[in-house]
């Protein structure tokens, strides 16, 4: 197939991509509750010529991190029922077994190439502003309090578009392709459970990527990403003693104040000369009644670091501060770790491979060798695993203007990103860019 033909195929797919994207945008589901999302994905994949995997075959139960509470999982189940997901499918994916993958075979023998996209949404309420594109075009989130505010709706779409192209044109490529639709990327929770079931063990080349992140224009692709932050996710519970706030304030052990102190002081952990640091206490819930000294508090937080060492420094500091905050108010504290993201380095070969492959595509205007992410990515768990096993991995960035930053209630990107991004996934494979290796 000539280069022009591939570009044409991609362009023919674009209306379908847009449709998928808008559908997924309407039904955002947070990590480990993506039952409906997974159902729609698998329905699409089953139309293609490949093997579709999901449920416990995909996800190893014990390697899952940060699975939400029973009642959150149950609500997701009820929501899926209301959206007419068949009972059998719910049975297989409920309780935190979401996500799917498809395996396809090319014309001839060849390397095992793995792509990974992520599928979960965020616990953010989408803006109701008229100027917000999903409002204008009538595809805003149907679920108050959940939103695709990190472009994973677009990532699912790219995964489906890629699978469709590869299934329809097996003569254009060699080897085996696995496309993973990973759940629970937010909070760096889901990748480990897929790796644990061996799905990344024999991968020769691994590609993933993200829409947005840096300030490149639509049409521009970064072949590799740099500066992934290592991260630790944690929950803390403080338990104190309740008492009547008017009559016996001195008998209380104030868990709310301990949690508030932990929050305030942990942001003040010293910066580190050896790399970026981050701290976030994303949630704090404390207390029961207005006139009762709060005997319970929970905080949910994360640290990040430019390296594993720097992230560890942050987490050591947080641990000591939580202990100190509990002591400050005479209460008890427990820390639970719920997720962990690694630093990672893309193999530099991709800078050349991707640039040369995309040279031919009219859909991509410019390829940057590398751009900094400055955030954490659960894909790093897969990248590190593939590299340890001898494979080569990259994480691309797909340029687009943003209406507002990632995780913002007004987040939105240009749908014009789909063409170049899909090209960036397809061309290296079709061009067999790694043929000179070995």
């Amino acid at each position: 197939m000539s280069v022009n033909k591939i570009d044409e195929c991609i362009q023919k797919l674009l209306p379908k991509l847009r449709e998928w994207r808008r559908h997924f945008h309407q039904y955002p589901e947070v990590g480990w509750t993506e039952i409906y999302t997974t159902y729609v994905i698998t329905q699409e994949l089953k139309k293609l010529d490949g093997t579709v995997v999901y449920g416990e075959e995909l996800i190893q139960s014990n390697a899952r991190q940060g699975v939400p509470d029973e009642n959150v999982l149950e609500k997701a189940e009820i929501k899926a029922e209301e959206l007419q997901v068949p009972a059998e499918f719910i049975q297989q994916t409920k309780g935190g077994y979401t996500g799917a993958l498809i395996q396809l075979e090319g014309k001839e023998e060849g390397p095992h190439v793995c792509y990974r996209v992520d599928i979960d949404a965020l616990p953010i309420t989408e803006t109701s502003a008229d100027s917000h594109f999903p409002n204008k075009e009538n595809f805003a989130s149907a679920f108050r309090g959940e939103m695709h505010a990190c472009a994973h709706d677009g990532h699912i779409t790219l995964g489906l578009g890629l699978a469709t192209f590869l299934s329809e044109h097996p003569e254009e490529w060699n080897g085996t392709v696995t496309i993973i639709f990973q759940p629970a990327e937010e909070g760096s929770r889901g990748a480990k459970a897929i790796v644990a079931n061996g799905w990344l063990d024999n991968v020769d080349y691994f590609m993933s990527g993200h829409i947005g992140i840096t300030d490149m224009k639509a049409g521009t692709i970064a072949a590799t990403a740099a500066k992934f932050l290592a991260t630790t996710k944690f929950d803390v519970i403080f338990t104190g003693i309740s008492s009547h706030a008017g009559a016996k304030p001195e008998e209380g052990g104030n868990a709310l104040l301990a949690a508030a102190a932990a929050a305030v002081h942990s942001y003040g952990i010293s910066r580190h000369s050896k790399g970026d640091t981050r701290i976030n206490i994303g949630k704090l819930n404390a207390g029961s009644g207005r006139n009762v000294v709060a005997d319970f508090a929970k905080i949910i937080g994360e640290t990040r670091g430019g390296s594993t060492e720097v992230n560890q420094y942050m987490m050591n500091e947080v641990e000591r501060m939580i202990k100190a905050s509990a002591l400050m108010y005479g209460v008890e504290s427990w820390i639970e770790y719920t997720g962990e993201g690694m630093a990672a380095d893309c193999d530099s070969e991709w800078q050349h491979w991707i640039a040369s492959a995309l040279e031919k595509s009219s859909l991509v205007e410019h390829v940057e060798p590398s751009k900094e992410v400055g955030a954490s990515e659960d894909a790093t768990v897969m990248i590190n695993h593939v590299q340890r096993k001898g494979g080569k991995a990259t994480y691309m960035l797909f340029g687009t203007e943003l209406a507002a930053g990632h995780h913002h209630p007004s987040f939105d990107y240009e749908e014009a990103v789909f063409g170049p991004a899909l090209a960036a996934f397809i061309y290296p494979l079709v061009n067999n860019v790694w043929r000179e290796e070995k």
Copy 2:
């Protein structure tokens, strides 16, 4: 009826009182959601010879304070349905129209005497300790997260016992008696809505009281209470800007930290030389996701003061600190006032009246003229209203040992308090203690 006869009547009621108390203890409902509680009360009252009032006739809609959110009210409705409260009754009391009263007539014309008991529970999870009396005797709260931890189960019981006695022995007393079963005492929210409907307008003598509070033994009664704290109840909402905590932390406006700062600093408001002060932030809920800078926070709090002036000082300080906390983190804040309690002075005549009336009862060993409360009480709204209209009011304290302080998960009192407490309500009326007045 001789004194001995009255004591006998009370003693005959005691098994019933215990039964009532344990029943109400099992079904605690927090303020404005006491549908089932109100239903059981009215069922009992309707067996008696008096006029029973509840719903909008009792409660003035606009004068209600601190009515909870729609979804809390709805859950209460569902709970009431599950407890088989008839649909019609739910219809009349749902959405924050709980509570009831009964009016009874004595043998002859006479003064209008009003009693008030309170009926709401607290958002506290009862201890599961085996040594806790309600666990031993198998009548602990059936609702996780709600508990009668301030003896209102006993107060309802006293109200029903009093109504029963007065209804069965109309020949023993003169005048009109109103017994009010007030909802939403916690947070000083319900009294105003009953006063607003005029139920306290023509009251000559007003009596209320509380089990526990001071360290008197069972058998001892304080004829009056002193040192009610004035109080203001408030909610605060902080709204900031969400952003990706790893990728764009600097773009966030952290509402969680603003709320935490408001909590930490407001406890540090300077003490006041002119009287007691209290501050409590009873609840703090903030944030949505672990890796999102929190754009929303809510705190629920209260101030108290030994006088209205001192309470106002506290509230002025809190207001300034909330504004400063919002400024600290570049977010917005709104304060809403949800309840207000007043200082109050019992009329000193009651010290003599109650002491002399109870001299005759074998159930009461000792009467203290006055004891300090050191807390707030919604009854003060009624006390002040009655006094402004020319009536005389008191608030008694009923001695008992406590297993743990009020609002503590292990709170419990001696059921032996019921005999003396009921006597303290009945004897002044039967003895017509105010006959020398006017």
Copy 3:
């Protein structure tokens, strides 16, 4: 001597009292550095007919509390030299041996009556406002950073006035009188060292008092004071690790932040239902250079409580919070106790004794039986000691309007207070009010 004669004598003394007061006001010296003040006092006392005591005979070295640092003591020495205090006198009083007493004998045998006034100033810079009376009359503090902002200049004056009267009119009274000019009252530091040398062991009647405090007018006297707060004085040192704030911030252990956290959180210690509480961190000094993580911090503070028990609760909380603050920032902390004040009760007999004695004086318009202090007083150490040994003690309050509150840079009182206050000291003795005892 007739009553009129006593009043006349007092009135004749008033110009001298005013002169003394203004002189002492100009030369304020903080606790344990009152060398010049002590020198002037002893010079005046030596003119009288009594035994003057000072230096180590008065002050027991080991029982002194809160003696300042060597360099503060040295500066005081230099200041005294500049004010021409003779070298020998400096030798006897320097290093924290200030204060004086005089013992006088009356006409006949009689009880041992002890008076106590305090002589130290505060580390406050006097206002430069023109409207401030000492500025208008040109007797403001000559020492920047030190000020008689708690009326001890007036107390010294009353002590000298009393000594003068008693020395000039020995025929008017019986028994032995000791007048103690106590150093280092602020911070409750000096009384213990005088008690330790036995000077209060054989006292039958003890009188002390304070100008101002309550809102009584000039001419009004409170015969006794109530509600002295128990208090604990403490210093805390935090030691951390300094590091370059730009290049290696993560290597620091921030003592400044630990001290700041200790300050902020300790004000938030829960109020106590059993009595008043106070907390003050009066000074915080931390750090060395702008771009150095601070490795040192010192805070100086105090707790108070309505009872010894409540004060102990405060101090226990502070101790835990200091430990927690150090842990929060990974630094070390040490607490040193530097003073302790007790609760005390005046003997109620004085209410009658003083009221009846002063009935005859035209200088006093009204005697209140008792007024609340709501603060701490080092005299309580003497009051408790005298009472334990079988004596009777009181602490009077002398009414005056105040230009601004105690310890305020604009603090000032009416000099009209001297007449009534001196009468309140003299009349009970001259009238032998305790003659009916025993």
Copy 4:
């Protein structure tokens, strides 16, 4: 002169360098008080063949930043007197006119080459540990509370060594050389005042450098430095209302708590995705007496940023937080800016120039093209000025092991650094590395 000869000359100087270093180490003087240091420097320079400049000829009065208080300046004067600095010299340099420069002429006409070293010490007390090299060798700081803990003693030494070599070997180099001995580098305060007097206006090539900073070994030189942090230095004064902490706590406006809140919260300013950030509150001094609500507080701090924009973000946040902290406690605040450091980029030509020049020296083992500083440097003011005028500038780093980090009480470096560092200053000039330019 052959390369071997230059190395020999340098080696012959080494004992003298060690001697100078140890002398300056013993007499550390903080910024703008380096009277004795300047005196010793000028005494040495005057032995050489050049023009020596100091006092107001060097320093423009109005362009000085962060000059300390009068009493600090006076103490420095007294210290200089005690160290026998002649009165006339004190007269010329006291009050903040420290520092010196020397201008020398080479064999032939040539470019104007400027070197800059810094001379001030830090307000840190040197460790008394026996293992500390200056203690072992008996040259520790003679001034408690001041210490050369940032290697400026070594920098002065290098400046003197350089001047000595150039003066003794004018035949070895061409053009004009200015060697600036800059005062008050710490806090980025002194450079501006020298630039303002025009001393950098006609400089073609500018060299400066620092001992330590990165983890290179002795013998290794970094030809250029990257990642200077922009910085802002500020002082804040909080003024509140003093009151008696026991008797009228509610009347106080607590400046100490406002300053403590500002410190705690400002460390919690959000990290920035676009570059490094730093915040330090280096000093906090608040309050006057233990039982007085503190009416005064001062904090001394700095922000830094990886770029001018990021530093500005930090300072904007600090400003808002200071305002909020004042509001929190009802006090007033004022911010004063006392210094400002810029970001800077070394001209990349130096990487080649220095590497090639030093290839020939046996004293230098290895030249790194560039190393990151991650801190602020007052030299950036000169670097930017020179570059704006068309000159080329670099800032080298001189490798050494460190006993402890910069600004640490145990800071120490290897004296072996002097040989390579002096070579790094001399070789580019002698080799006329810039000859190919223009």
